[in-house]
């Protein structure tokens, strides 16, 4: 190649293409996103984090928490459960339908199953299988509902109810998805551990609440001071090796309180149209008390 201009033009078009694809298009697609609703409860999602939690995000950024913690829950797929909620009045028909749905089920077992509903009939099947089972059961006079369950190793670990979606980060700046899991994923940590006091103790001395933790402590977010009078209401309830000397107490600085508020505000438990799941579905026995369709709701922080 003799001409610098040609090389330059080639580079220009190649980069312009990639820029259009990965900068401009996402800006038009997710950069213009607005709040959505949870499904089926219809609550607004997301709601901006409380002010203290927003300050906490800045503490999270300043101390490089994202170098060890990801905030992206991975979901490998979606499976369906069939819940039998009401046996109806046509017992022989329902038993026949049950045996059609579950070929290995003997008649006494089917009768036993009809006691103490609701109970799961099929678990972890494809949508087609689940729908055909619901149809068979409904035709026989029973009532059955379809439950949606998000699955994947992260979800099995209890790191959330569904995958992370763009909506989760709509009002955050900066959006720190993290790249590595030196520590656990935090997308849903506020649901797993809603106790602010636990987070503060964990930030001060991780080993005091998680045995064997490799996380460093952040003593500089706290103040160790002499107890005056009755002591501070904020003082951490530390014990054993991690407790301060007698006559001293460990009190969180505003940064620590903000960071803990941010951590408990991290929740990935709102069922959305793009990432659906039935609330309580993975709980199995914790089935709803009524035979109404499972309701979604509680997810809004």
């Amino acid at each position: 190649m003799r001409h610098g201009a040609l090389v330059y033009l080639g580079a220009f078009f190649a980069l312009a293409l990639s820029w259009t694809g990965f900068v401009l298009t996402p800006q038009m697609q997710v950069g213009q996103m607005v709040a959505t609703n949870t499904v089926p409860a219809g609550a607004r999602y997301p709601v901006a984090r409380p002010g203290l939690a927003q300050q906490g995000l800045q503490v999270y950024r300043a101390n490089g928490c994202a170098y060890c913690h990801s905030q992206q829950v991975w979901q490998q797929g979606t499976v369906f459960d069939v819940m039998l909620t009401d046996g109806g009045t046509n017992q022989p028909g329902v038993v026949a339908a049950l045996q059609a749905v579950m070929p290995r089920l003997s008649r006494p077992e089917a009768l036993q199953l009809l006691e103490g509903l609701p109970k799961p009939v099929l678990r972890g099947v494809s949508r087609e299988e689940a729908e055909s089972a619901v149809k068979k059961l409904t035709t026989s006079g029973a009532k059955a509902t379809l439950w949606i369950e998000a699955v994947g190793p992260d979800l099995a670990r209890g790191w959330g109810k569904r995958r992370s979606v763009p909506e989760d980060f709509l009002y955050d700046y900066p959006v720190l998805l993290g790249a590595q899991r030196v520590g656990p994923d935090l997308a849903d940590v506020g649901v797993r551990q809603p106790d602010v006091g636990w987070h503060l103790r964990h930030l001060y001395a991780p080993a005091s609440v998680v045995t064997g933790s490799v996380m460093p402590g952040y003593p500089y977010l706290f103040e160790k001071r002499r107890v005056v009078g009755a002591g501070s209401a904020d003082a951490l309830a530390l014990s054993g090796d991690h407790a301060p000397e007698v006559g001293y107490e460990v009190v969180p600085k505003p940064e620590a309180k903000a960071l803990a508020a941010y951590l408990v505000s991290l929740r990935a438990d709102a069922p959305l149209f793009t990432a659906p799941f039935s609330v309580g579905a993975s709980g199995g026995p914790a089935a709803p008390a009524t035979n109404a369709a499972p309701t979604a709701g509680g997810g809004v922080p």
Binding site: R2, G4, V7, Y8, G10, A11, F12, A14, L15, L17, S18, W19, G21, F22, V23, P26, Q27, V30, G31, M33, Y60, R61, A62, N63, G64, A66, Y67, S70, Q72, V73, W74, P153, R157, G158, R163, V165, P166, D168, F169, Y171, Y173, P174, V175, L176, A179, Q180, R181, G183, P184, P206, V210, T211, G212, S213, V214, P216, G217, Y218, P219, Y220
Partner: protein, 488 residues
């Protein structure tokens, strides 16, 4: 196939990079020394901070106070110093040198280039203080706060302009592969760095569009920009130092277009909460850019076929050779990582860290070491301060790379397997990687020692010529005064 001159050169032992005209040498000397010397300083500081971060895995409460020494800050600072403190200025300096030498023309605006280098280093200094104070942005590979990034960008802009002008004024009409690579690299950095900083720090976009831009910048910086600057350098220097004909130009062109067209779509992991087409397209881009890695292997083989031994006999070639090997390994690791994204999630583990070590230190930094070792003696007119340090640096760098990347990659695979098993508590998953992390500390220690030798050697060489220049000036002054005295 080998020209008689090349044969004669090769026979004469380690062939020198020919110094170019005096005009070219003089114009490049100070701007490049400013860039290289500052970069070597940042490299040592960066690897020291990296070692501190690594030691925290031996004892989590090690230097938990003060705030500026916390893991997240020293890790960010060390990553930023390696990329923006060392790789960017050194690669830009080498790029300017290639533009001048291959075009057979003096650098256009050496004073502007020197000033640009100074600005770049000032930006890195401000950025380092910012990150350690807690003003880091949190975005990976864009750690510096907006003000520091602005200084880095201004410095780059001056250096890039000088590079393009030098190319424009070239006396040799035909462009070598190295010149296209460097030209595209100069252009690339400006676009990605300005876009990322403007859209993330100055006028931040909403929500996960930030993450998309961050991924795009990282993919382009590590994959395309580093690929262009380092490979251009290798394609120019490898045949000259080995005394061989360069590889076929069409293979270089293939590598060039693969990098530009496919390399620019890499970097978005399968798990990212972005519209599904983005990670999918990115995986395709990564796999296709693996073709470029093959092209590099072919071109290096064409250049060195039958004479791999010559690489071993020349320390500078050893650096380049190991650098290219790391490029190939890093490229393969990136493809594996992208393909594993949906099932193994290797990208969340230390495997990613091992891959980045391969790409940033193993490939680009080693290529730049070899190049700096090759061109500085020609620039300053004296040999290196210590040849022994130079040889030792290679061994420390090579062993360090092995001790960092191999345990981290193995640890990453183990970690990925354990992450997939939800029955295993997370504490067990993270503790399972500790042995590998602690092994990698040894590697970081070796790398720090090597980087220290590089800095001392460069500083010693520059101090030597400064002392000589000073002595000359004094002698001239003395001669003038005695001359005047005699006349009186």
């Amino acid at each position: 196939m080998v020209s008689p001159e090349a044969k004669a050169k090769a026979a004469a032992g380690a062939p020198a990079i020919d110094a170019g005209s005096a005009e070219e040498t003089v114009s490049c000397r100070w701007p490049l020394l400013v860039l290289f010397l500052g970069a070597a300083g940042w490299l040592v500081a960066g690897s020291l901070l990296g070692l501190l971060a690594s030691i925290k895995f031996h004892s989590p409460m090690f230097l938990a106070e003060p705030a500026w020494l916390t893991y997240g800050r020293v890790k960010a600072a060390s990553a930023a110093l390696l990329v923006y403190g060392f790789c960017v200025p050194t690669a830009l300096g080498v790029g300017l040198w290639l533009m001048s030498r291959l075009g057979r023309v003096a650098l256009a605006g050496p004073v502007v280039a020197g000033f640009g280098g100074g600005l770049l280093h000032a930006g890195v200094a401000v950025g380092l203080v910012g990150v350690l104070r807690g003003d880091g942005t949190g975005f990976l590979h864009l750690e510096f706060p907006a003000g520091a990034a602005g200084l880095v960008f201004l410095g780059y802009l001056l250096l890039g302009t000088v590079g393009v002008l030098t190319l424009y004024r070239r006396r040799e009409a035909r462009m070598e592969a190295a010149q296209w690579f460097v030209l595209a690299g100069l252009f690339w950095f400006g676009w990605i760095y300005s876009t990322a900083n403007l859209c993330l720090l100055v006028f931040p976009v909403r929500g996960v569009a930030q993450a998309a831009i961050n991924y795009w910048h990282t993919g382009n910086l590590l994959g395309v920009w580093m690929g262009l600057m380092g490979l251009g350098t290798v394609f120019a220097l490898l045949p000259r130092l080995a005394g061989r004909e360069p590889g076929r130009e069409y293979v270089a062109m293939f590598v060039f277009w693969v990098l530009l067209l496919f390399g620019s779509w890499t970097g978005i992991p399968a798990t990212a909460p972005l519209p599904a087409w983005m990670p999918a397209l990115s995986t395709v881009g990564t796999v296709l850019s693996g073709l470029g890695v093959l092209g590099v292997a072919v071109i290096v083989h064409q250049t060195l076929a039958g004479r791999y031994g010559s690489v071993w006999r020349d320390e500078r070639l050893r650096f380049l050779g190991l650098g290219v090997a790391a490029y190939v390994v890093g490229g393969v690791m990136q493809v594996v990582e992208a393909l594993s994204g949906r099932s193994w999630m290797l990208h969340f583990t230390w495997f990613t860290a091992a891959r980045e070590w391969m790409q940033v230190y193993g490939y680009l930094a080693l290529v730049m070491f070899g190049t700096v070792y090759a061109i500085v003696p020609a620039l300053v007119g004296v040999d290196w301060w210590s040849r022994r340090f130079l040889r030792l640096h290679f061994w420390l760098a090579g062993a360090g790379l092995l001790f960092v990347a191999a345990p981290l990659a193995a640890g990453g695979v183990v970690e990925a397997a354990r992450l997939l098993n939800p029955a295993l508590g997370f504490v067990e998953v993270s503790r399972g990687t500790l042995m590998f992390l602690r092994l990698s500390t040894i590697g970081e220690l070796l790398i720090l020692a090597g980087n220290g030798l590089f800095f001392v050697n460069l500083a010693g060489t520059v101090a030597g010529i400064c002392r000589r220049a000073l002595a000359d000036a004094l002698r001239r002054w003395g001669a003038e005064t005695t001359g005047e005295g005699a006349a009186a």
